[in-house]
Each structure stands twice: as C-alpha cells, then as structure tokens.
C-alpha cells in the first residue's frame, strides 16, 4: 500500500515536471517563431533609421536619378549603380533562363536512369558552390575571353572587366539554381497529365510545351523570379568582375557598378564619412525593398497562375 502511494507521488511529480517542460518549451518555441518576424523587422527598421541622414540631406528623387557619384564631393547619385544592376540582372537572366529551362526539361522529361541521376545530382551539387569561386574562375577564364574575343567580335573594346563579364558569370551561377527548382516542379506533376496529352496523339514536345510547362508554370515562374533576386543581390561576383566604374555605362562591355558592388567597393575606404555610411546603408535598404517586392510579386503571380493553369 505504501509503495502504491509512493509511486503515485512520484508519478504526480513526474507529471508536474513534464508539464513544466511543456510550458517552458511553449514560450521558447513561440519566441523562436516570432524571431523570424522580429529579425526581418529589425533589419528593415535599422537600415531605414540609418538611411535617414542621406535622404534628409539629398532628396529621394535626387538619390535615385542623379548620375553623379562622388562621396568626397558630397555627390550621391545612385543612378549609375542602379543602371548597372538592371543591366546585369536582365542580361544574365536573358542568357541563363532559356538554357536553364531547357536543361530542366531535359533532366525531368528526357534523361533516364543513370544519366538522369548523374546530371541532376551534379547540377544540384553545383548550386552550392560559393560565389567567390565563380568570381575567381571568371577572372581566370571569362575576363580574357571577353576582352580578347567577345568584345572585338562585337566591334567593341573592353578591358575584360565589365557588365558583360559579370552577366556571363552570373548566368552560370544562377542556372543550377533555376534548374533545380524547375526540375522539382516538373517531376511533381502526375503522370496522368503526360498520359492524357500523349493519349490524344500529342508529341512529347507538344505535351511539354502546352501541358507540362503550364502545369509546372507557377513553380518555374517562382524559380525564375527567385533567380532574379539572386542575380540582383549578388555581391562578390560583380565586385570582382565589374571593374568598379561609377558612371552610366555606354555599352554593355563597359566597366560599371551594381548596388551591391558599390557597397563593397566603397564601404571600406569611405566609412569614416558618416554621410557615405548612410548612403551605403541606403543602398542596402534599396536592395532589401526590391527583393521584398520581387518576393511578394512572385507570390501574387504564382497564385494567379496556379488558378489559371490548374490541372
């Protein structure tokens, strides 16, 4: 009998301890869940707060539309970097996207057996190679290629460093990323879609073009937009290969600057001037806001496409 009550006491103590853990863990996990939101808010607010000095001194319009960047002379025009960023983003996505989607189609729909596994794994693994390695290989291979062959072939002159060089390397960086996500979307499609389309006598390509690319469209579209974000915010490759020229480029073979490379190239030396600090933090804020818009745009369009192209 005594033993019984002892067990009961022990049991209720155990239960108490378990419930205490449960309560404590709940607070901790709630905190961790909110951490994601808090971190985001903290980053936006900090950057916004520190951007106030530059926006107060030079208006937002001036910052965004002036082509004159010369912090030593109190000139803070971001236009050259903005133009450079847009150039690089559009050019590398124009090169990378079609190739990435075709390669994804090959992996998901054409390749079979070992080849498929090998190619897919290879590209998957390569999506993780650090940007700085691509930058280095860009210096060794792409810079001389652009300077000695590509630019002359287009009747242009280039020292090798410049927008085209960055775009080529960024196209290489971003394709494995788009391929991985697109292959995932294509492979998630039910075989019934393929069977239904082939079953009315469509060719494999007609099936891919009309049915599969639509059905996987929302996923592929997200992959492309995320790819845009990647290229847009890429820092190390542009910083290594763009040539650091804060003037609006005349030709794609010119050296230039992107917003992230501007931050990298000017932060170290000009940190002592508070207004420059503020300007570069403002550049970081612009990046964040634009990537944010991309993200929400992607989510919105994805939902619409999902409704339109449902299967």
């Amino acid at each position: 009998m005594d033993g019984q009550t002892e067990t009961e006491v022990a049991d209720s103590k155990t239960l108490e301890r378990r419930l205490r853990y449960e309560r404590l863990s709940r607070y901790w996990l709630l905190g961790a869940g909110l951490f994601a939101v808090a971190l985001f808010a903290l980053i936006v607010l900090t950057l916004a707060h520190r951007s106030i000095p530059i926006v107060a001194e030079h208006s937002l319009i001036e910052l965004l539309t002036s082509a004159n960047w010369d912090p030593a002379q109190n000139e803070f025009g971001f236009l050259p970097a903005i133009v450079g960023t847009i150039y690089v983003t559009i050019l590398s996505m124009a090169i990378g996207t079609p190739i990435a989607i075709l390669a994804a189609i090959y992996i998901a729909e054409y390749a079979q057996g070992r080849t498929k596994v090998l190619v897919a794994s290879f590209i998957d693994v390569l999506a993780a190679i650090p940007g700085v390695i691509f930058g280095l290989v860009g210096l060794i291979v792409v810079v001389p290629f652009v300077g000695d062959y590509l630019a002359p072939a287009f009747g242009s002159h280039s020292i090798g460093l410049g927008i085209v060089t960055v775009s080529l390397v960024m196209a290489i960086v971003v394709t494995p990323f788009i391929i991985s996500l697109s292959v995932e979307s294509l492979e998630a499609l039910p075989d019934e879609l393929r069977e239904s389309s082939l079953g009315v006598g469509a060719t494999k390509w007609e099936t891919i073009r009309t049915v599969l690319l639509r059905a996987a469209g929302p996923g592929i579209f997200s992959a492309i937009l995320l790819g845009f974000g990647r290229v847009f915010g890429a820092t190390i490759v542009p910083a290594m290969l763009i040539g650091g020229q804060t003037a609006i480029p005349d030709s794609p073979f010119d050296a230039g600057e992107t917003l992230p490379s501007l931050i990298v190239n000017d932060f170290g030396e000009l940190m002592s001037i508070p207004l420059t600090q503020s300007a570069l933090i403002f550049a970081g804020l612009m990046l964040l806001v634009i990537v944010w818009l991309f993200n929400f745009g992607a989510m919105f369009i994805r939902r619409r496409l999902q409704r339109r192209w449902q299967y």
Partner: protein
C-alpha cells in the same frame, strides 16, 4: 464481328531493381463497336495490358516488351508510323480524372488543334459536338473559358472522354474511369459509355463485376499477368470455362492480390536516390 485490335503473344517485363513479368504471353482480341471489360485483382497486369495497346507504358523507363499489337491489320510496334499518330487512333482516358491546364474549351480542342488546321468556327462546332456526345454541353456551355480543373470530378471525367473522342480514335482505352467518382457521377459516365460503344471500340478496366455485367459485351480476365479467360459477357458470368474464373466471380479469387500488388508500380528514378 470484326476485330478492331488484338494482341499476339504479348509479354511485358519490368526490368527495374526487381525483375517482374507484368504480362505473360497474352493473346486477346477486341471487337469493333463493342465494350470489352478487363477484370482481375489489382496489380495483375490490367493497366500494363491497357497501356501497351497504345504504347503509353513507354513513358516509364525499364520496360521490355515482346509480341505485337495489331490495330486492324497494322502492327503498332513494328511500324514506321509515328507514335503520336498511333496514339491518336488508340485514345486513352486515365483512371484519375485529369484536366489539362487549359480552359474547358481548349481541353476539348487540344487534340483538334494539334492534328489539323481547323478554323475557329469549325473548332467551335466540333467542341460543341463532342461535349454533347458526352452529355456535358448543357452543364458547361456558359463557362467554356473556365479552367477545366474547376469542374466536378464527374464532369471532369466526361470532359476527358470528350477530349479523347475529339481526335476521332478507332479505339478508346478507359482505365477504371468510374473508380474515382461518387456513385451518381459514375452512373452518368456509365450512361455516356453505353451510348459511345455504339460508335466506338472501347476497352475498359474495371474493378466492379457488376459494372462489367452492366456495360460489357465481352470480358477479359487477367490473373498474375496471365490471360485466364476471354469470353462473351453472358458466357463469362453464367458458364465460365475456367475454375479460376468461377472462384473470382464468386468472390473467392482474390488470393494473390497482396503479393503482386506492387507489380505495376515502377520505382521512380530520381536524383534523390543516388545522391
């Protein structure tokens, strides 16, 4: 009665990690303008047989095939005719009602657009004709531009039938087309099939003995990849020739269902497997 489609010594082996013979030396005939039901326990080769009739199983890797299928007198394996043309003539409706990611209108017009240059007016007329044929026109004529996937499953399955019929196939393969449907929708699809078999040769897989009795002119019974019996529907249910058939139609013949249930499932080869 003319034979629309027949198989000759058809043997199909999956050569994945585990070698499995899904069909073993099957020779069977499907008559014109009749509905032939294929029955048998799950995983005994029904779907394999059906997909081999228009070579749809070829979209999966690691399949070996020997024997031949004749569409009329024309072989479909040893032929120079492009595969899509063969598949146009032998249409396929999957078990799960599947809308292509297109509007209702374009789901039906999909095959028409691929195979011919129809004017817009012709297309309109044909889409209407085939939607009427599957008794769907009244229900959807006011929302032809809506996504096909927004239809109810019963309507969707009839849309799939219309899509397949639109390319004027000689033979229509229906893979358990009512099994994913509620009883009322199933009945409406059955009604449609009953009307269609006047004009088309239909091969249908079914799990339901009663459905086979209601719809079929002829029944083919497969067991573990072997053809056990193929006979006229009345003959099959009233006076079965094989002992196995007797057991099966009396409900005792489901032995072996578990051992072989994964026969038709092919391990999907994905990158995740090796890396």
């Amino acid at each position: 009665m003319t034979t629309a489609l027949k198989t000759e010594n058809l043997t199909i082996t999956y050569t994945g990690k585990r070698e499995v013979t899904a069909l073993n030396d099957v020779s069977v005939e499907f008559n014109e303008n009749e509905l032939t039901a294929i029955i048998g326990p799950s995983g005994c080769g029904k779907s394999t047989l059906m997909k081999s009739l228009n070579r749809l199983h070829e979209i999966q890797p690691n399949v070996d095939i020997s024997g031949e299928v004749y569409l009329g007198t024309q072989p479909i394996y040893a032929t120079d005719e492009p595969l899509p043309e063969i598949r146009r003539r032998v249409g396929y409706v999957p078990q799960k009602p599947t809308a292509l990611p297109l509007s209702i209108y374009n789901n039906v017009a999909y095959g028409l657009k691929i195979h011919g240059n129809h004017s817009k007016a012709e297309l309109d007329k044909l889409v209407k004709k085939y939607l009427q044929k599957v008794n769907l026109w009244e229900e959807v004529n006011d929302r032809l531009d809506a996504p096909g996937a927004e239809l109810s499953t019963g309507q969707l399955q009839r849309l799939c039938l219309a899509r397949s019929l639109a390319v004027e196939p000689d033979v229509l393969l229906c893979d358990e087309v009512t099994s994913a449907l509620d009883p009322i929708s199933a009945e409406s699809v059955e009604e449609t099939l009953k009307e269609l078999k006047e004009e088309y040769t239909i091969v249908m897989i079914t799990h339901s003995m009663n459905q086979a009795k209601r719809l079929a002119d002829k029944v083919v019974f497969l067991y573990l990849g072997n053809l056990v019996e193929a006979n006229d529907v009345n003959q099959f249910f009233e006076k079965p020739e094989s002992e196995r058939t007797k057991q099966f139609i009396s409900g005792q013949g489901v032995v072996g269902e578990d051992e072989s249930s994964d026969e038709e499932k092919q391990p999907a080869t994905t990158a995740a497997q090796v890396l």
